[in-house]
């Protein structure tokens, strides 16, 4: 029943996550993720016909902060762990195109 976590899917997810994987890691993760997803087959055995679908694991709702300014970091503190910086900006290799 569960979706097969084949090698191509692991490679795809790795690519989306910007993680380079060796062939051996791909095989290992394919097996491990398959086992995890396989567990959902067990949960599927339960009769959930009369259970409302759950949208969120937390039962709390309406946790708010008021719209009043608080403390921010100084640029110096904010940039203190940046791998690279220029003036008061984080610096990354040049990108082209637009975000989504």
């Amino acid at each position: 029943m569960a979706k097969q976590i084949d090698i191509d899917l692991v490679r795809h997810v790795g690519k989306l996550s910007r993680i380079e994987l060796t062939d051996e890691q791909v095989r290992t993760f394919s097996r491990q993720l398959g086992e995890i997803i396989g567990y959902f087959d067990k949960l599927r055995e339960l009769d959930t016909d009369n259970v409302e679908p759950m949208a969120h694991a937390v039962e709390l709702t309406n946790v708010f902060a008021e719209d009043a300014p608080g403390e921010s970091l100084t640029p110096e503190a904010a940039l203190s762990n940046a791998p690279d910086r220029r003036d008061d900006m984080f610096q990354v290799p040049r990108i082209i195109g637009t975000g989504s």
Partner: protein, 492 residues
Amino acid sequence: MMRTSDDILPVVGLEIHVELATATKLFCRCRNTFGDPPNTHVCPVCIGLPGALPVMNRRAVELSMKVGLALDCKVADYTKWDRKNYYYPDLPKNYQISQYDLPLAADGRLEIPLSDGSTHVVRVLRAHLEEDAGKNIHAAAAHTGVDLNRSCVPLLEIVSEPDMHSVEQVLGYARAMHRLVRWLGASEANMQMGQMRFEPNVNLRIKRGDVEFRTPIAEIKNLNSFRALERTVAFEIDRQYAAWLEDPEGFSIDKLGKQNRGYDDDREQTVFQREKEEAHDYRYFPDPDLAPVVMDKSWRDSVAAEIGELPLARWKRYTEDYSLSPEEADALTQDPETGDILDEAVDTGADARRGVNLLLGRGAALANERGCAIAAVGVTGGQLGELVKMQDAGEVNATAAARIFDILTETDQSPREVAEREGLLAVSDSNQIEQWVEQVIEASPQAVEDATGGGKKQKGAFGFLTGQVMQLSKGAAQPQEVQQILRQKLGL
């Protein structure tokens, strides 16, 4: 371009991103501002440091509800936030907190006024609340700088159904939405500051004989002016028709689906953007750090109670009840305050037509000079009402009323006090007017000769003499009365 006998229907939908006018960001208490030095309004939450926890800004939720309700949307009883996963330097967490399957508001509509006085309804599919990204700054050749001041600023995304079928309708919808969010105080919607951005999707339905063709949908990203939106949509309509003429079978939605295009401002055209197939695999899932929000009826009602008359309702009322032209009604409904002044004046019993003439005459001229809204020139509804009534009663003439209007922008005095102080009350004392007329006749023998000579200079000379008397009266005399007495004295 040659339009043959093909019947072309453009089909346009619009996504609009609006930055909300909160004091602080969506999930942290850094200030929501524009134009400050880079990375001066940042904290562990909005720069995505591990372990930092977002807390929802109540005001942002309320402003979103307000827009949703004003758009006639169904505001959800229960809403939640999801992570949209993608990598980009301006998105430090590597996911954007957005809303996927349970948006805050859905199924609404916006009715928009058109230039011919009719209206058009555009359905609103959904409106959801998400966080804005930071800014990438391409200053140096080899590097990109990242400023995260904008990261986490509340952003309302409003998605329309593809209900627009002309450039005019697209612009009308965009402008109506711009006006609405400003009207509600939900956003400043300043285009230069990127507080309102457009993403149109465009295709054509082309009928040739009995056969209907559909061109591929082009989605154009991130337009930040009405001008760019107008040119983009117009360009796409022409481009798609030309592409279809080249290859009616191949250039179809069935074969090509949807394409992303960017707008090239310099060349004023859209260009194809290649994207990796997997770029849209966002792997949404509920954000475990944020509690869902329940918007019960009493909360919705209290937000709805803050919404007064909306721009279109007022526009209709002005065209119908006050018999204003569509343009006049449009000029008076750019913000709530201008119309409030008119309505307040009318409530005191003043004539609407005269009030509109003053507001759109002197009011608009002064607003233009001062670079502000008409409502901000400084005349209250009470002052306008009294001024209009004085004009109606013949206590001041039109020239004097305009002069008084100007003076009222600088004072809290009543129009009557100003008129008395400045000697602008109409003089209907005919003895006084006779004196002025005699004075002018004595001082202008040439004009008197021309005016009584019956030649072609007669009309001009008579006008000149009238003007001289009006000037002596500082505009306080009624021109009709001046002319009547002049005629008497000159034996005309």
